[in-house]
Amino acid sequence: MSQIFAIALNTFREATRNRVFASLILFAVAMLLLTLAVSSASLHEEVRLMKDIGLFLISTFSVLISIFIGVNLVYKEIERKTIFTIIPKPIFRFQFLLGKYFGLASTMLIQLIFMSTVLALIFWGLDANFGEEMVQALLLIYIEVLIVIAIALFFSSFSTPFLSGLLTIGAFIIGRFVDRILVIRLASKDEMTPALENVKTFVKTIAHIVPDLSIFNTTPYVVYEDPIDWSYVLNGVGYGVTYVIILLFLASLMFTRRDFI
């Protein structure tokens, strides 16, 4: 336990002491302020739009930062050989991986809380309602981020950051549109060739493996100030945590077999 905490703390420190990270956050906040300023000045129905844009920006930035840091988490330690001094210590490789995961997960939590606070302050300043449905939406965004970090860590446990980045972004996009992919019709029955049939099976298989991230997007409800059922939120949490556990388990399997050269 102490080992996992040590790695997590170190990962958290690395991220928060990194200038790139700090400037990304500042950039995100600036974007948030700017977009909201423009939208509140020029349009009516501004509160709905502001919620829509605010949630969209927060989730997009959080996911991008997670992928960016996530695919480099393990790679950097190997590339810079800092892992050479960790592995010979009395720590199991899966503990190292879990430490890296929790380190970034807590960094992203702080990041998300910070951005949400900025958003809430803007709403408060405009005398607009920042209700329960916003909290629910932000919570689900965090769960989505947790899944994305796990995907990034999984891919980077055996491939390069660049490839992991592409694969993670791919998985993320598919995950966001899973519900639509599954109902796509490639062709009508009589135009169906064996080749098309194969493509269809392939796409559907991928879509079944990749986590369905569309369930974490509750913006349509939020915009209409419709609190969703807490049981839906809890379901989402359960679904996310299950995926994270599976991904971390697979990542550990890959990671344990690796040579650090």
Binding site: L9, T82, I83, I86, P88, D259, I261
Partner: protein, 342 residues
């Protein structure tokens, strides 16, 4: 208990080059099939070595660049998996967590978390050993002081010089008060003062009864420090033993300097010697072994007008041995290559 501090048996490590080498889950069988087709290449970094280090020893691990020292150490440290063979650390098979709790390691050319300050850095490593807060603080401060880095305790490691990094790396290796310390080129990058500090530190560890296993190219340090050494070249152990035995074996050359030995007698004496040369009226003969010293001197006394200036036993230096073994390994390798069927 007769337990080795560290041992390897028939250790082999082969690296698969090219992108196939990077794919996990490709067992040796599959990669071998690709090799036969010439798609994958392999480097035999360690080709079956067996040796052990005993508790309380300071053991030097020598060899030219690319000999396979770092590879061997990495297998011992659990960083890479051996292709075949086994090893033990502190009596336990490799990978045993309890043994690792009593191990200290400094990698070759270390690089560390540059955003940490020295005390945070050492605290991080101390946490990996489950030490209490008070103990972590006490040890980190003591080690900083011991390695002469207290003056730099408010700088992040980013601002450390190469030698300072090497020092904090040594501190990191000692944070758990290890019974066995493995150092891969601890003196590299250090100035003469730094080298002396590390040398003193290794002596100190020895006095405390700890085992030190280190690789080095700085032979003077090895001669000064080690109880035993192993010389590795081209993936094999070429020579292993106590420094004293290795350097004064049966073949100890002798250098004889004379005056007034000329003409035919000189030719006769030169025929006995391995080398003979003349400079500013002095003749120097080098005998391959002291076994023929007596007969050489008898013959010299018979020469009219000859004067014996000096007889100096030439102790083989570690450097001689090192160069010899490296050259022999190269020759053996070339022979094996040419002898192999096409």
């Amino acid at each position: 208990m007769n337990q080795h501090a560290l041992s390897v048996q028939d250790l082999v490590k082969t690296f698969d080059l090219g992108f196939l080498g990077a794919v996990p889950f490709l067992g040796p069988g599959i990669t071998r099939r690709f090799q036969l087709k010439g798609i994958a290449q392999r480097v035999e970094a360690v080709r079956g070595i067996t040796f052990s280090v005993e508790p309380g020893e300071v053991f030097g691990f020598l060899g030219p660049n690319g000999a396979g020292k770092t590879t061997t150490i990495k297998v011992l440290m659990g960083l890479i998996h051996p292709t075949s063979g086994q090893g033990t650390l502190l009596g336990a098979p490799l990978g045993d967590a309890q043994a690792r709790a009593r191990l200290g390691f400094l990698p070759e050319h270390p690089y560390f978390y540059e955003y940490l300050k020295p005390l945070e850095f050492l605290d991080f490593y101390a946490r990996l050993f489950n030490l209490t807060h008070r103990e972590r603080k006490r040890r980190a401060e003591a080690l900083l002081d011991r390695l002469g880095l207290t003056y730099a305790k408010d700088r992040p490691l980013r601002k450390f010089s190469k030698g300072m990094i090497q020092r904090i790396g040594v501190a990191q290796a000692l944070i758990n008060d290890p019974a066995l310390v493995v150092l891969d080129e601890p003196m590299s990058g250090l100035d003469p003062m730094g080298r002396k500090d590390v040398r003193d530190l290794i002596f100190e560890l020895k006095e405390q009864g700890k085992t030190v296993f280190f690789s080095s190219h700085i032979l003077a340090d090895v001669e000064a420090l080690c109880d035993r050494v192993a010389i590795m070249a081209r993936g094999r152990i070429r020579s292993i033993g106590g420094l004293h035995e290795l350097l004064t074996d049966a073949q100890s050359p002798v250098e004889i300097v004379t005056r007034g030995v000329e003409g035919a007698p000189r030719e006769a004496l030169a025929a006995l010697a391995a080398q003979a040369r003349e400079a500013s009226g002095q003749q120097t003969f080098i005998l391959e072994s002291d076994a023929i010293l007596e007969s050489f001197l008898d013959q010299l006394r018979a020469v009219e007008g000859a004067r014996l200036i000096s007889v100096i036993p030439r102790r083989r230096s570690l450097e001689d041995l090192f160069v010899e073994e490296a050259a022999k390994a190269d020759a053996a390798d070339i022979q094996a290559h040419e002898g192999a069927p096409a």
